[in-house]
Symmetry: C2
Subunit: 248 residues, 2 copies
């Protein structure tokens, strides 16, 4: 029986989602350990929609795996949650067709990036946002986000270490919200796929545009120059959340 599951995790104490050769603590690792306990020592491979990096959080990561017996989905969710550490929570489990694949069937993904403003780091946000103490002009960022939407060659926004050869991606939605009460900016990006560190590099450029360190339409230049060095700063992992994975 194939199961699709949606989970939240606090990425702070994980070396990312993907299982590592070494002894590092990963989200895939703790889930596979739980499934191994449930299946009397047999390894069950977990496939995730997104390989989030160390320190990156998830509000709606999606995985699939095959389990020999049939457990009603709500029982499966209970069993998994009872075996999870407190930094992982399964929010939904469904039984799905055998051809469902968490990663390859994903149509689009939405990422959230939280930026804490104010002069000093808020103690309660240090692992859950990026701190940007400089002034930003929201109108400039909103203007720049119009250049982000669409189909573009994101070579300038791809960190080395990624495996993608084709760096063209389509972003269908890119928005920013300013929350006065939380003193935060929240960026949302929805697209068919994202290159390695792409969201974090884009946020770095957007903040620099908001601060006036770059011209408003610098994205158009960066698409042309296809040079990672020109995009400079990669915003930290702590502000990034895999918000949702969309399937048709």
């Amino acid at each position: 029986m194939r199961y699709k599951a949606i989970l939240k995790y606090d990425g702070t104490r994980f070396s990312g989602f993907q299982l590592q050769a070494s002894n590092l603590r990963t989200v895939q690792g703790v889930i596979e350990n739980a499934l191994m306990k449930m299946s009397k020592g047999e390894r069950i491979v977990v496939f995730g929609a997104s390989r989030t990096d160390a320190g990156v959080h998830a509000l709606g990561q999606v995985i699939h795996f095959d389990y020999k017996k049939f457990l009603p989905p709500e029982k499966m969710r209970l069993a998994l949650n009872s075996l999870m550490p407190l930094d992982v929570e399964f929010t939904d489990v469904q039984a799905v067709d055998d051809d469902f694949h968490a990663r390859f069937a994903a149509h689009e993904k939405t990422y959230l990036y939280r930026v804490a403003r104010g002069r000093f780091v808020d103690p309660f946000k240090r692992f859950y946002t990026t701190h940007y103490p400089y002034p930003v002009d929201l109108a400039k960022i909103e203007e720049a986000l119009k250049d982000v939407v669409g189909t573009h060659d994101f070579t300038s926004f791809a960190a080395s270490g990624g495996q993608a050869v084709n760096k063209v991606r389509t972003i269908s939605k890119a928005t920013v919200e300013s929350s006065e009460s939380e003193n935060e900016l929240k960026f949302y990006f929805t697209g068919d796929g994202f290159l390695y560190n792409q969201v974090r590099i884009m946020v770095g450029v957007l903040l620099e545009i908001g601060n006036g360190r770059r011209p408003v339409h610098d994205f158009l230049r960066l698409y042309e120059v296809k040079d990672r060095k020109e995009a400079r700063w990669t915003a930290p992992a702590s502000g990034l959340y895999l918000q949702e994975v969309h399937y048709l």
Copy 2:
């Protein structure tokens, strides 16, 4: 020059506010270390309004200390924040009269207690709330809170280890908010003083009243019996915040 300062801290990685004889990390300790650096090795004693326990947070702890030179308050705040670890932030510093005392001049204090609902622990709330997965009837809690307000003998709500002989305290305000969007209950208590673990023990009783495990007016009985054992459960430190210290 005497300074009054307001600070926030994430209590998770502190063994409470108060300096310990042993080598434990405390809020008072990190502040006194910073002041020692600023004053070339001389110890400056820090007085806090409340000795929050290990794991208890603060949104508005107040301290005072004496500093030999005069620094403009905003410069003092900058200097302190630049020497603080990321889990402490000074939000305000003022120069005050020499007779100001953070603890003895405090007229009232307000504590917040956050309770996360839902069946499973939310990974992002595990250090910042208490998880209570059982159903609660908000109307019962609101009715019980009326018994909390006023002047009462809180002997049943004082953990052993406290030094107070007189266990009579006055609570001027006790409210609960239910946030649907956050799936949380938030309790607020304002009073002239609180006994050791009093808020946490009261929250334990209130949740049991809400869940129907105790009669709605059980506070009235507990005031009479003066027996800590009758109040049973102490809600965990992780949900408790020193919200504000009030001065006349």
